[in-house]
Symmetry: C2
DNA sequence: TGACAGAGTACAAACGTTTTCTTGTGGTCT
DNA sequence: AGACCACAAGAAAACGTTTGTACTCTGTCA
């Protein structure tokens, strides 16, 4: 029932080879026959079978993306721009949600492997060695994660943290809590690294709490731990946790930023509309998504030997309403 | 380089047919040979080529989903549950973002057609007739949209609106603005329908504004129009617009809910954390996503003649902090 | 003892493309 | 006039599976 290349060939009174060429190598076929073939193909509503095509070419015309949580707008932001760029380039997108399970991340990549030409991996949890192993068999580009020899689009998380600490220090904070994300997440390690370095420099004490699941509920739980920790500011791993913490603090009647300051990370749309609006670090999500796809595509037709570039993107602090000077009672100590 | 079924066959000293059957029709092959084949396949890391398989079976093991905006947590919520259910069933997921362009929605379905066994369509914009036409060639399941003869998972938007109006009427509101979504969106029409019916019943006047793009900026613009409309409550098409409106009202110094009440629709996570927390209607997104996939899968192996069921899911109002009685000055008139 | 059944396996066709190799045209040089 | 070339187009092989058909056993029944 579905129309094949053979049908087009018969109707246009040419061989299948000619049809194939008319569609994908225009210069190899006479203009007038080509026009005829195109007309017939169009009339019949012919669409080549990607399966048959990829069987012989070895290319699928798809790319994959695996993320830890489709419920997190940060990752769907990435997904959106990846999808957009991919479609521009004529690629379709397969998506996998690992639910923050490293084993699932790996399995998803393997499942996709034969169906895609390459995958954009936003998987903080999986181990470096495993990534290298996966890269042997599929072409990978990492997002927000640096692994030697593998292409990546990176956002300067450590730099963002430096800006946060500098801002808090300037306001007069001397003792802050870090509400940590998953322990083995690259982003978390990176943010922590920036945090520690900056804390040392600005002579700020950091109390590290967690790890917490990097979700709303994680932030709620973290807030409770933080109020017992005798700090004047909460530095959350990401915006979602910060929102959870904010809600919990409000429920407990603790004023933000009067009693406690709170910072997030990612600058989701919703960071601007919560109350008070969240001080956070903006991430170049769009650029990163596009960049990751460009890197991947470049790697694909550049052949094996192409340089696996790493793309570094800047972040910047956005000061809104959740940070202020610590309360007087705390300032002198 | 990649390992094929032939490699496994040689190594296991059987024919390719036996390998194929050992993997997909266990009962057709001797237990001991099967064990041997499996061992070899495993050792060699053999993964069947989906392209070759689908070429002959006509099935891809993929399903597609197309949504109007991956930036909207409502749709990514659907996506998340669709992805989860699909993976349980051994299917991979192709995703398309149409950016609210009906033409793109249609094109995406066509592009996917040959790569998927069916698609879940969350496309409010496209016309009924086009949907019917698409359904001729691909199996479709609709989400949040009713078209005769086509399977669908539906959430009772009209019912949600009735609950909103009843709530507002009880508080004493007599004149409300509806901040409309895209004019030809099914959800918008459905919400409007419920709204009108309930308004008539409760003797509430509705001023309809818009249409606006169903995004944050749309809500911002809508708020400005609404304050000029001499109403006491804003009924937004969805949460995102409500959040935009809320932010704008705050910027203009208008108190919510003291001066104006605002309602949303969808109950995104963020509706609970904005300030004041948003009164809205909860949608059974998870159930709808799973249901849509189940319907689709059922339709696939039920053959052509299977009944195209429609799944109806209830919604319910969640009263939070953005609704209250209208100001005294307005109440008497 | 011979026909027959059933289990287990192998052979080969088919799926819809792309691509290499070949053939058949004219046309342009020497 | 013969050799060569560019251009168009066709024939057929190949990609990696699944599956219908055919074959070979081994054992059972009359």
């Amino acid at each position: 029932m579905p129309v094949t290349i053979r049908d087009v060939a018969e109707q246009a009174r040419v061989s299948v080879a000619t049809v194939s060429r008319a569609l994908s190598s225009p210069h190899l076929v006479n203009q007038v026959t080509r026009a005829r073939v195109l007309a017939v193909a169009n009339e019949l509503g012919y669409r080549p079978s990607p399966a048959a095509r990829s069987l012989i070419t070895g290319r699928t015309g798809n790319i994959g993306i695996v993320v830890p949580d489709l419920g997190n707008p940060f990752f769907t932001g990435v997904l959106k721009s990846v999808q957009a760029r991919a479609r521009e380039a004529g690629y379709a997108v397969l998506v996998g949600d690992s639910d923050e399970d490293p084993a699932a991340e790996e399995e998803l990549v393997k499942m996709m492997a034969k169906q895609v030409d390459g995958v954009v991996l936003c998987s903080p949890g999986i181990k470096d060695a495993q990534i290298v192993a996966l890269a042997e068999h599929s072409s990978l580009t990492l997002l927000n994660r640096r692994v030697r020899g593998i292409g990546a689009a990176l956002m300067d998380s450590a730099g963002g943290m430096r800006q946060i600490v500098a801002h808090l220090a300037e306001l007069g904070h001397r003792r802050c809590a870090y509400l940590a994300g998953p322990r083995n997440s690259w982003s978390n390690r990176e943010r922590r690294r920036g945090l520690r370095a900056a804390a040392r420099q600005h002579e700020v004490d950091i109390v590290e709490l967690g790890p917490f699941p990097p979700r709303y509920e994680g932030g709620v739980a973290a807030a409770d731990r933080a109020v017992d920790a005798d700090v004047t500011a909460l530095i959350a791993y990401n915006d979602i946790m910060a929102l959870g913490a904010l809600a919990r603090l409000r429920d407990r009647g603790i004023d933000v930023p009067g009693g406690l300051s709170v910072t997030g990370f990612d600058d989701l749309v919703f960071a601007a509309v919560c109350a008070p609006p969240l001080t956070t670090v903006a991430m170049p999500v769009r650029a990163a998504g596009r960049g990751a796809v460009d890197l991947l595509l470049g790697q694909l037709d550049g052949g094996e030997g192409s340089p696996r570039t790493q793309l570094d993107l800047a972040t910047h602090l956005i000061v809104r309403g959740t940070t202020a000077a610590p309360p007087r009672s705390r300032r002198k100590r």
